[in-house]
Symmetry: C2
Subunit: 339 residues, 2 copies
């Protein structure tokens, strides 16, 4: 196979609010041959995740922003097609962080070999990867669900939310999901086995959520922000925990005006002894071995199910990503780059 | 001593915003003789604390509100003047929660005997009591100061703040206090030994705070809320902890409008992995023995100093309490009811 060029998608401009097609640019560049100790990877699958919206901003965050004119970052499953690295052989399948492109060089640092016989390799981007681990570490370490408690999570059909609810149930808690639309709600209730599900698009969403949580909310796993918060907030019990791993509904918001909700928040933090705790999964890296073991076991026994939404072709990534921010995906969104 | 009547101060009306004199009412009632198993207490000292403002509201909180026409609640140091309880003798000095009055019946539950030889009995209302324990438990359990970290606390000359900063220093952290006015600031810096102090009344308060925290803020012990928060918030480091034990600056606020600061808060909670955790000291009751031991030792060795602001006469309690909410006290505010 004579590879000549690498197609890649770079950040063309920092979005103001909602990203638009012109914020991305497709480029074709020559492939660089691997040097001593390097590998050439062909990307098979690219993960699209909400956190990427944050990387498009210049603002201070837990990670460096993607520079304008640089390749959009992202987790990937790749095949080693040339190796001058003693740890990897041609044909190995690896988890890498190669970004939105067809090929990438690597020095092997941070790569994890995947065994296609153990699990579909795409799960390394979802339920057995960063999103699944985000759910696991955030729920168990910060949320600390106790039997009988009520755990609420939004985007419940998504990569993180679906794992949160199912792990909550494994720990004996009651899982209430929030999702958008009848199809996703049915999936969450019937396929994932949540105890209840509420459609945030319904006019009486807040009332439905209250009815679905007759004993209040002990853990709200926050991955969306926005209007869902306003429905959740009055239902939080004393000593409720709120792990915050994402705020997809407000990533595109430029500025807000109106009633200042901060004083009321702090007042209830005080009166109800609430815990609000932001995190990224990286902080809990020492729990990864336990996660792989537990989650693989739960998948094998059918206690955790997952859904993938796989779209074809790198060129479609910007459009698919914009859809993700609107909740148009259904399950873990993955781009098949080559296969 | 022929005691006939008990003077007491009741909640006359629920305040709208700032409490005013007509929200309180002085009453004189007959003293009831103790029955079998009961004690009659004469209140010597009444503690006035910011949390009492919350009890004057009807709103949901961690504690039941004071009912209209009921005695204002509060911690007290009292002398047993009649005892029909086997556990207590006439003349015993006890810590009780008898409220804003001259005399009270008790069944002995929740009383703690005080030894005037060990420490001045008023300290049981301050540095060796609820405020000191609030500082101790909140700082050590939620804040978890590490050597070299920066701890910021407002109302730094007050009962809680003064203990927070001094305990932070004992744990090897850097203590930065916020106080109102030159006299309090000088006290915090020179008498309490904080590493730095900033006057929140200065026009360039935010700039001064930033200069006083060159390495950012790792722990903000929140006991005031209001404008101080806006100066603190941009300085919080990644993984900063914010124990919230009070919001005195907003207790009197009825409603807020303007820019909604909630989305920015949640965004930074996420980006900086912040922990915001409301608490009341009661939650950590199992740490009280360690607190009494540690704090008594620190006071004995001069590592923790404290200041009391003692005013005379129960009738003055409403006025002194209104002054407390304005920061007009200087040190732990205590009413000498009898002595």
């Amino acid at each position: 196979m004579a590879i000549q060029t690498n197609t890649r998608i770079v950040l063309a401009a920092r979005p103001q609010g909602r990203p638009k097609p012109s914020d991305f640019r497709i480029e074709t560049v020559d492939i660089v041959e691997p040097g001593e100790g390097e590998l050439l990877l062909q990307i098979l699958y690219l993960s699209l995740d909400p956190y990427m919206r944050g990387r498009m901003n210049a603002a201070r965050s837990y990670a460096k922003p993607v520079e304008v004119d640089s390749v959009m970052e992202g987790g990937t499953v790749a095949r080693v097609i040339k190796s001058r690295h003693t740890g990897f052989a041609q044909g190995d399948i690896v988890l890498s962080h190669s970004g939105w492109q067809g090929f990438a060089l690597s020095d092997g640092v941070g790569l994890r070999k995947l065994d296609p016989a153990t699990a579909p390799v795409t799960t390394a981007l979802g339920v057995l990867g960063m999103p699944g681990f985000t759910a696991y570490a955030g729920l168990l370490t910060i949320g600390k669900p106790k039997p009988g408690e009520t755990v609420v999570v939004a985007a419940a059909s998504g990569a993180v939310g679906s794992a949160v609810g199912q792990i909550a149930r494994i720990k004996g808690a009651r899982a209430v999901g929030i999702a958008g639309g009848a199809e996703k709600c049915a999936f969450v209730r019937r396929e994932l086995g949540f105890d209840a599900v509420v459609d945030h698009r319904d006019d009486d969403f807040a009332a439905q959520l209250k009815a679905a949580c007759p004993d209040g909310i002990d853990i709200y796993f926050e991955n969306v922000g926005g209007p869902v918060w306003d429905a959740v907030f009055p239902l939080l019990n004393d000593f409720a925990r709120v792990p915050v791993c994402g705020l997809i509904a407000q990533y595109n918001v430029v500025a807000e005006a109106g009633v200042d909700r901060l004083p009321a928040l702090m007042q209830q933090v005080l009166h109800r002894s609430l815990t609000i705790r932001g995190f990224i999964q990286r902080e809990f890296a020492d729990q990864r071995p336990a996660f792989y073991r537990d989650m693989a076991g739960w998948i094998a026994s059918g206690r955790v199910r997952y859904r993938e939404d796989i779209v074809d072709g790198l060129e479609i990534a910007p459009q698919a990503f914009m859809g993700l921010l609107e909740g148009r995906n259904f399950g873990k969104l993955i781009v098949r780059v080559a296969a």
